[in-house]
């Protein structure tokens, strides 16, 4: 019973979250493929006004304008690249959630890889350090070892 409830809750949550993503105005498309591209592009273009939303989620006036423009350009037959170029010409690379690979975005694109390699290196080095059992013994200086031997000898004497 509990499992059934959980499944129902999960479905309800899924439905609620898709409803929250829907925007107010609707556009008619001459082709279902254009509509799919509209959904993709409006999800990928960032709203310049409310900066952590894409233009599909935002209801700022500028996001409405950009959606209208996107619809017009898709119906005119512009390619995805042409549309993205048109947008970045006006609003800069900022308007894309996946900015072009360039000098300024180099670190942004490469950071995950660099951090992954760094993390792996640390893991490998830590594991290697653990795997050497002899290291602890060797770390004792000659003086310490002499003291240890003396102590043992002392303890063994009755």
């Amino acid at each position: 019973m509990r499992q059934v409830c959980a499944v129902l809750l999960f479905i309800a949550w899924g439905l609620a979250s898709t409803a929250a993503q829907a925007v107010i105005e609707t556009y008619e498309f001459s082709d279902a493929q254009l509509e799919a591209r509209y959904q993709d592009l409006s999800g990928e273009l960032r709203c310049p006004k409310c900066q952590n939303q894409n233009i599909a989620d935002s209801n700022a006036p500028i996001a409405q304008d950009l959606r209208k423009l996107l619809h017009q350009q898709l119906e005119k037959g512009a390619s995805d690249d042409e549309i993205l170029e048109y947008m970045t010409d006006r609003y800069g690379e900022f308007v894309r959630y996946r900015p072009r690979f360039s000098g300024a975005t180099l670190l942004l694109w490469l950071a995950p890889g660099i951090l992954l390699v760094l993390g792996l290196l640390i893991v490998v080095m830590t594991l290697r350090g653990r795997a050497k059992p002899g290291t602890g013994e060797q770390a004792l200086t000659e003086h310490d070892q002499q003291r240890l031997r003396d102590l043992i000898a002392k303890a063994e004497k009755p």
Partner: protein, 183 residues
């Protein structure tokens, strides 16, 4: 991060990491994420053909270029525009050339605004559909563009132009462009 690094030094790694993080966060405090660089800096003012506010006379980019000027994007629905209006009037009185771009507004309301509050603009471009605004990359009024005598966009300020913004940001570039134009 060698294994033979003295154990003492390893103890400082968290402190060093904290220091680096603190530096980044400190830098972040003085950054304003709302200030986006304009894509139009050092590019020509976009071509347009729009009526002058209140008339049917058409304006284009050639009609508004030829001297260093400010292009102020404003609208009657924009609250901050009302805030900056007195300062723009003051600037106009000092002899600064200001063109208005009346952005997604109604002509009647805009004309009434100018009549009541004063008109600091040499001319107003009536951008009723926001097409020029789109080509300029406007994302919210007020915005002010500094354009040189050749019609090239040199600076964009988003938000209210007040005395602080003028003296620290706009005026230095304005003076430099004017000197360049005369010399």
């Amino acid at each position: 991060m060698g294994l033979n690094m003295p154990a003492r030094l390893k103890l400082f790694i968290p402190l060093i990491l904290f220091g680096v993080l603190a530096l980044f966060l400190l830098r972040g405090l003085s950054l304003d994420p709302k200030e986006l660089p304009s894509a139009l800096i050092d590019k020509p003012f976009p071509a347009f053909s729009l009526p002058a506010l209140g008339t049917e006379q058409m304006l284009n980019q050639d009609a508004v270029s030829g001297r260093v000027a400010l292009f102020n994007v404003w609208a009657t629905w924009c609250v901050s525009c009302r805030v900056e209006h007195p300062y723009l009037t003051e600037l106009a009185q000092q002899g600064v050339a200001i063109y208005g771009i009346n952005y997604k507004d109604e002509d009647a309301a805009a004309l009434q605004w100018l009549q009541q509050l004063g008109d600091p603009y040499i001319a107003n471009i009536a951008d009723r559909e926001g097409t020029l605004g789109l080509d300029l990359g406007v994302y919210g009024a007020p915005e002010t563009y500094l354009v040189d005598a050749q019609g090239v966009v040199r600076y964009r300020h988003v938000g209210v132009v007040d005395e602080r913004v003028w003296t620290t940001l706009l005026q230095p570039i304005y003076a430099q462009l004017q000197d360049g134009g005369e010399g």
